[in-house]
Symmetry: C2
Subunit: 323 residues, 2 copies
């Protein structure tokens, strides 16, 4: 089990390399929601997403414990950039296995952090085979995007900061000293959600944690009900960061510490995303809009509450917007 | 002449109604520019643009001096929203004359602040006639978008904050205590630019102020050279906030306190705007990207400098992006 000390150690470890991202509010969105929303803006994080936290916490420990001289992972999204970025910080080579169908801009971002990109067929089998080949050839250590306690502890630091800055007496102003009623995070593989749930459990035990998931990648809601790792009945969503399936590790944490999983449609995600762009003037990726979409869809459930929302990232292809 | 005291009084007057917007930096853009850029983010201001400052400073004085019981202006852009917003703050009715071709979303924003919209033909004559009719019918006081010392003093407060927060010893950290080499603002009618130049003149007299203007609305660069208020040879630009011509008032301030006017193409504006969206994860309107486009176009001129840039606003039609 990941303890509170483990999360605090992760925070101390990664603090020199990350931004303490701002917590923003917006009156118009509060009025629309009928609740008081606090957005933890990880779109302003290094590499443009919270994934920098988990990647750094894992890779700094690889160095600390001398586990290997190189890092590898497979990802077509923000985790690829996070590993490339974190490996560069510690001076280790990184080998990122990416499906040949991944957007050119994502590959270029990874190359920009000095990592090597190994292209493979766009299947999970090919990606895992690619990573195995890299590990055998280079001795690289695998940093999994979510099925790793070090990664989960790193992601937990985003919620730790959110609660410290806007949900507890220690740092907050008088107004902010009121604890959150609910904290929402989106769920893909469950790394962020697990970290969110654990940080909330330790720092603000009276706060409910709710997951938000696209209808077009509805595996977590199934797994949450059955208690087994289920696959989504189909995958079709603009929230490209949330297509992954939970692991046994993340499901166990989520079943213990998460109160519910709410699903939203792509139209609801796109509407919430546009609302944030237009009203808050910040660029967020579709996955980031999923929790707000859930709050706006279930207004009765959240009416009058103080709510924390993790904005996961801002890496979006401006040439392919859903509006 | 607008004195430093006038600007400080404006700041005290409007402070309860505005945000002290953040000053943001970005390493990637610094690397691209070869300079150290500090962005004053008025896209996070009330109504999504710096215009809230000038509108408030004028209308609060209308109330203070009991000049009238209603406010009017003609505008199709951010000034319309600024006047509607400011009038609501003081409880006065506002009559906004808008060309019937103005985007529906802009009219709705003005209506949303409780103002009345009077539609007219899309010519300057029709707009001015519309305002005269309103003034005769309602006794409303005109708040001009830029040809008004109260408006200019209000806009000056954005640069006052920028210098206080990032360009002088009083408030800044050790690093920020270094004065700016250059501060850039875009120029349309010259209200913001005049305020920027005056605030800089009083607070940081060693700093050069440079204006940036679209090639497709190149009146200020002409007027700056000839000393007369000139019209642009043609109007064709995505920077919809910068199509206006200077007034005698703004030209006089600009000729005294601005060092140069640089022009940029729409392609350069669009490129700079996209860079800010992608790298800084903030939504800015095309006019806001004009100064950064000028810095990136004239790298030699700005190499190694500490530069302040006014991000004017974030009100952009997401359905009509230039990329």
């Amino acid at each position: 089990m990941i303890s509170f000390d483990t999360i605090c150690e992760a925070h101390d470890r990664i603090r020199p390399y990350i931004h303490r991202t701002p917590v923003l509010t917006n009156q118009t969105i509060n009025d629309l929601a009928g609740a008081s929303l606090f957005f933890k803006c990880e779109n302003f994080q290094k590499i443009g997403a919270f994934k920098a936290r988990g990647g750094l916490n894992a890779i700094l420990q690889v160095v600390q414990h001398q586990e290997g001289q190189a890092i590898t992972t497979h990802s077509s999204g923000n985790h690829a950039q996070a590993v490339a970025f974190a490996a560069r910080q510690v001076g280790l080579p990184a080998y990122i296995v990416m499906p040949r169908t991944a957007p050119k801009v994502k590959k270029e971002a990874v190359l920009g952090y000095g990592a090597e990109v190994i292209e493979c067929e766009p299947t999970l089998e090919a990606r895992e085979a690619g990573v195995r080949e890299v590990m055998e050839r280079t001795g690289a250590v695998l940093v999994h995007p979510f099925d790793d306690d070090r990664v989960i502890a790193g992601q937990a630091t985003a919620t730790k900061e959110l609660i410290e800055d806007a949900g507890m007496e220690k740092y907050g102003s008088e107004h902010q000293a009121i604890p959150f009623d609910t904290i929402l995070a989106p769920v893909g593989g469950g790394g962020l959600l697990s970290g969110t749930a654990l940080a909330t459990h330790y720092l603000s035990p009276g706060t409910r944690v709710i997951a938000a998931e696209p209808e077009g990648a509805a595996d977590a809601v199934l797994s949450f009900r059955t208690g087994r790792v289920e696959k989504a009945p189909f995958i079709n969503t603009i929230a490209d960061g949330l297509m992954t399936t939970l692991s046994e590790r993340t499901l166990a944490i989520i079943r213990t510490h998460v109160a519910d999983v709410l699903t939203v449609s792509d139209a609801e995600i796109s509407g919430a995303m546009r609302l944030v762009w237009e009203r808050m003037k910040i660029v967020i990726e579709p996955s980031s809009a999923v929790p707000l979409a859930a709050v706006l869809k279930h207004k009765d459930q959240f009416a009058g509450q103080k709510i924390g929302i993790i904005i996961t990232g801002g890496n979006v292809d401006l040439g392919k917007l859903p509006f």
